[in-house]
Symmetry: C4
Subunit: 476 residues, 4 copies
């Protein structure tokens, strides 16, 4: 028998040999009743620690749980791929709309964001033009936009732009005396520009006193407006379309007063109920099949959940019996590590995964019938559960002896690896704090290269560590 299998069956043989050793010694004076009980417990223990193949051979028990898990892998992965594809469409629609808005509302947008802001201006003329451009483009939106967007109503149920400027409360700059008076409290001014105001005389609003900016005390200008959009794409896959409300905000940020105004564009997309939308023709035909599939996944996961819970309950009951027997017979407690052997970690993994799949599938069905739109939570639940299900496959590999060796090796070397990471982590933490302060702000460009260097250092240290492990025969 291989060493790997020995290691797995260690608790069994420990206790079993303890039993047999004990039984041999106390054989003569034992009652017949006790002997029968002991034999039955020994049989149950042996059977409990068998793997499905051995169980089948021993009692011709068909491995339902194993079959169910394999079916579950297929189902859960299929479900995840389907959901992933439709989720990707939703995310792509949001992102493409944001990019389109940037092209429409930001003057001189190059197609790629600088750092974390979209673009920047460096002189007063450009600053004014950028602000006016955004307002004008909003006004002309219907004639320029390629998407299915329309004006949305803001919190006050009005259609229009809200322009706010934030500046230090009072301030005066006297160029001759070269003095600057600043009152450090911050004031915010806002005006609303509705479509009528913009249409009446297109250049009138520009001359209002609001748009005379005193840059030396200006903190930021914020243009915010709402747009509505429809994701018609889903019609092609015979699903009902989602309606969106885009809360767009263009921020001209002059907080740094460094001569560079950074322009941020934020677009919060919320999925809302579609009002005033009539879809004729053959829509929503195949939704019911998807719902049936999801329901089937839930049923399977429930079955798996019940079977695994039952296994754990049985194991706990067996442990209780064993502990009692052991206490009666040898008058001592079973050590803690042996007690934990009764709790099969894989079952816990399966139960967690099943619970996540069930909740995720219910969310997915609700999304399908447009009751809720929480794509993010659903994707985290389904994604994580699929990850756990696939990791669980390694367990089945462990049934083959050769793979067992591999898995045991990993288990054995894990504490050493963690210890190495703790040591390296300390040095890395100190290095990061020091490097951030001493080098960080000066050499922004070299960070990437340094990253490459660090990975080389890491590999070098890691190799040394593995060499150390292997020379000590710690990895067996």
């Amino acid at each position: 028998m291989s060493r790997g299998a020995e290691a797995l069956d260690l608790p069994v043989w420990n206790t079993a040999s303890a039993l047999s050793w004990g039984s041999r010694r106390s054989n003569a004076m034992a009652h017949l009743d006790s002997d029968v009980k002991e034999e039955s417990l020994r049989e149950d223990l042996k059977f409990y620690f068998m793997n499905p193949c051995e169980k089948y051979r021993a009692r011709h028990q068909i491995p339902w749980k194993l079959g169910l898990q394999i079916l579950k892998i297929l189902m859960v992965t299929t479900q995840l791929i389907r959901f992933g594809l439709s989720n990707q469409l939703v995310v792509a629609f949001k992102e493409e709309n944001t990019v389109a808005f940037k092209y429409l509302f930001l003057k001189g947008y190059s197609g790629t964001d600088e750092d974390n802001y979209s673009c920047s201006v460096y002189n007063q003329e450009d600053a004014y033009e950028s602000i006016f451009y955004a307002v004008n483009q909003y006004h002309r939106l219907k004639n320029i936009s390629l998407g299915t967007v329309g004006y949305g109503e803001n919190e006050e149920n009005k259609i229009g732009l809200k322009v706010c400027k934030q500046h230090y409360k009072k301030g005066a700059m006297f160029p001759l005396k070269e003095t600057l008076n600043i009152y450090s409290d911050i004031e915010t001014d806002c005006i609303y520009l509705d479509l009528r105001a913009l249409s009446r005389n297109s250049e009138d609003w520009k001359n209002s006193s609001f748009f005379t900016l005193e840059f030396y005390r200006l903190l930021q200008v914020k243009i915010s407006f709402r747009l509505k959009g429809i994701d018609l794409q889903t019609i092609l896959s015979r699903e009902l379309p989602d309606c969106y409300v885009f809360q767009n905000t263009i921020t001209f940020d002059n907080k740094a007063h460094s001569g560079k105004i950074k322009i941020y564009f934020d677009s919060d997309a919320n999925i809302e109920e579609c009002k005033g939308l009539n879809i004729s023709g053959s829509v929503q035909k195949n939704t019911q099949y998807v719902l049936a599939f999801d329901a089937f996944v839930i049923v399977i996961c429930l079955a798996s959940l019940i079977l695994c819970t039952r296994s754990i309950v049985l194991a706990l009951r067996l442990r209780k019996r064993f502990l009692k027997f052991f206490l009666e017979k040898y008058q001592r407690h079973v050590c803690n590590a042996d007690q934990w052997e009764f709790i099969n970690g894989w079952y816990v993994l399966v139960i967690i995964s099943d619970l996540m799949t069930i909740i995720g599938s219910i969310l997915k069905m609700e999304i399908q019938v447009k009751n809720i739109t929480n794509y993010d939570l659903c994707s985290i639940l389904l994604g994580t559960s699929t990850l756990l299900v696939w990791v669980g496959v390694i367990r089945y590999l462990g049934y083959f002896q050769k793979y067992n060796v591999l898995i045991l090796t990993m288990q054995a070397s894990l504490p050493k690896v963690l210890r190495f990471c703790a040591c390296a982590g300390m040095i890395y933490l100190g290095y990061t704090f020091c490097g951030w302060i001493v080098l960080g702000p000066y050499h922004n460009k070299d960070v990437e290269t340094a990253g490459g260097d660090q990975s080389v250092h890491f590999i070098a240290a890691w190799d040394l560590f593995v060499g150390h492990l292997s020379s000590q025969r710690i990895i067996k």
Copy 2:
């Protein structure tokens, strides 16, 4: 004798020692006839498992096959390089034409494609201009193009553009009521613009009702036309030129309705018979030499094919004799692994490689005389066969004892490596599915970096694994 050589000759010595051991035991009662037969079989077996050098030393048999293989490596590589160079010209011609078409027909093409589409527009004016620009450029083609292109006839034998637009069947957008009626079925409208229509009044066609696009229900606009071209370059290397038909399609894709129209440019280049082309002067002089070379490659490969097939047939016959003898003498079957030892895997490799080279060379000759133009299949056949031929060189390295150790080590560690990959693959699969859904759509930019990180993780895990192998002395 080195351990490496022992391992290779293992079956021989196994069976041989079995024979000798058996013969010693049953010597007394054996007939003379059986002894002679046994001795002859033993000699044949010993000879069969020798390598060419040993064969030469044993029976002064000149290693024709070895010489043929070495000659074949030279020939096949030369042929591949020649074909590769001419194939590259063909591919480069197609690619350069596609790039030139993009510059000619796409307004504002920057020289590099965005993602998988060529460029994109974000407002209505740009969309109209891009469409009109493509049509106008087609009209002026003769005056602007630098290549030897002419108008090609489409399926209906007409010269001109076909513009198609696809949209939802009925639709109405009422800006005041903010409602949208969409009929989910899709309709396609097309018009043909021939050169005459374009010439008559250059701005007339733009005002047709067809070119009034309702973007809110538009799915896509497709402009398709055919162009003819000649690859005159081959005249310089004294070969007949190929004639091409380019089926160009410009697609303005608004399926997402996200405010961004993606412009795709597809150019399908087909090589067709050249009509109306007169080449005077000294062309097609050296084609015959190339054909002769290809024919010679075929002859060599045929010879190699026949010799290897013969070897395999002889080996099978020897196996039959041996099995029969073994059954007669020891009344038991030879084990499966020993039976497989008679089939030399390298010969199978050579036969596959030869067959591919022969088919590839015939294709190459047909391409040379312009009967067919299937460059792709030919390149796959010739390329793969060359790869196999070079991999076959490792076999000859195995004749040297020191290299033999290396090859045997690889053979021994291969199953461990595959097992490691299976385990890592499971985790990787789960991680990929999970990562794609949970992280994928949100952080497109970080994928590259993550790729780098993953390779570091892989190296770290791999090192640990190698350390494990080396500490177990599994790698011998």
Copy 3:
């Protein structure tokens, strides 16, 4: 007892066993007094080489130093993060101003520097235009700049630009005869352009003879001016703003006479006293809390410094006692390595770190109250001390036996690693010198790729080296 702990306690047990061995031998003839002294010394030595946990167990001594160090890590890291954030603001303000100046004063600045210069011009017209553009933008500064900048006074207390040109003293180029006379000495001409001169007639100054450049003998043109700026951003975090003087220099470098004039932009930012700045409102409220925190850090570091110094003094006294005793008893000197064991390297590390933190904190407090502005020195001191403090954490890991093994392994393999680096370094040095001369100037583009290759070579060599170490069981 583990081997790790043995190694650490080696000197103790060495000397202790020497003592016990000696004492057993000379027990009979020793005086009672000597025995008591010896016993006391042995006790003290044993106690000295204990770690805090053991000390607590042995004499119930509460580990003040250990607690103090843990508190110090928290405090120092918090302080560093706070300082890092404010330092980053200062650096970002300088950098953003420099970028804004480049956009304002350099014609056709693309946003990224070429190599080490900002941009370049290739013909005479562009050269003149770039110079005039810079001067004009300086004149219009108040109307175009977005920042809080004003004109600064130069060394002569005048406001204006200083334009200098450097050229070979005499020179004549005769286009007809194709001869060139150059006098190799260098001459510098300068003019001052004050705001009045620029305002009077905006195009007048361009026609002065100074701006007729003879490019064949021109070496460089330098435009220098001063600007004042205020970093108002700090008001938001309730701190007093810093005032800056930017000494800007635009250099048109024609030294190479290669037909390419490189344009450099240098901006030296100095923090100066703010004159003529009135900040009203609630500023400088929370400065006192920060100062109190810094003071507390200083107190803690002082305490740690005193405790560690005391430990070292005690250790030196103990060593003296031990040396004297050893000399008396065995009539020989303790070997050097054992003497060094008394000096705890970690204490030295802590003392250095404490001194740096104290000086750094004092500097930080001075910066806080705007007495000095030396951010760089302060960041180096605080950063390095934090690095040392974090590295010191490894020491506490050493108290756990399993980590001890790891640390001892590192100590053992360090000399081998250094030796390997010395060898590799020699080859690398030669390769660098050779590569720089032979390949360097011709293939600038391939340097990056070569860098990648080198790291692969390094990893390959390193692996071989680690394999060597691990096969020799040198890594224990």
Copy 4:
């Protein structure tokens, strides 16, 4: 005695023990004369295989050669750095001029080359404009160029442009019949445009029939002209300036007839004698010091060369003596490997390095006094010799025992590494040929990524190999 030192001294002890073993056996019957001779030879042999430190200890011989080598390292590196800096100036001057020419003569040059050509045009109008732009810029050169360039005389001693076009001899394209007649021979037409012709009527020459290009049969247009330039930069470092003749060629390449004309710009810079250049002032002052330094380097290298040659001659003489003695005494030949031990490989390395340094230094001196201008050969000689000198340092490391182990390990594992590379190389060759043909032309973009993957594969294979070596204890 360490194992490393044993290995180095192996031949000595081998032969010495052979001698002693022999001498013991034949002691009785040996003559006194023979004994003295043997003793002297043994002494000489022992001394010969000592390292400098041991020689100093044995006979107090001062290690002149060692000192000389250390001095040489310093001198040669200094010389290389000096030469490298001046060579870099020359290369930078050529490159900057080429870039400046590209900006001046190529219309729409973006600053970076596409692939191997500078830029490309895609329609007829752009093609004409690019050609006319180059000619016009040449005409206006004196007014636009920033460098010290003037018109150069071409082979016929005329100043002007030579424009050549190459096309298929006869050709006709009938747009109506869609036929194309091409005569496959190639014809070249040229015209000369001198400055007078360009000045007379600036637009006249454009209308000549030469500039009516028939693109369907055009192969290429070549514009070539000469420019003169002076590298005045060297005056700053008090050296005489170099004069250059730039042979510029602009090639409009239409050979592919793919609708894309690639524009190549070639600039061959030759250093020629400066005519008509008068430099006044203090030039060429410090040239003599540099020449003296170079002469000193030559002297040192000559000394080193002589000493090493002497050592080799002495070693050969010693070998002869030893061979003769061995033959006389034991009547057998010394094995080949032991004979080779007498030739010290390091001396050969030093001799090669010295010869290269001497030749390189002479070339450098000639360049200094402007007799020759062959910077490339000189840089290869000096660079390679410096590399060899630095590699030679490893030898001195070998004198320390610990480093010796490292070097011996490398020597031992080298054959294994080479063998591994041979095996991997075979697979790589086949893979490269196959990949180039099958994948190469289609997926140009993915080559980089594939490169990254390959390096990961390489590292994985390498690790496995090192693990194999280390598990076999082959690396000792």
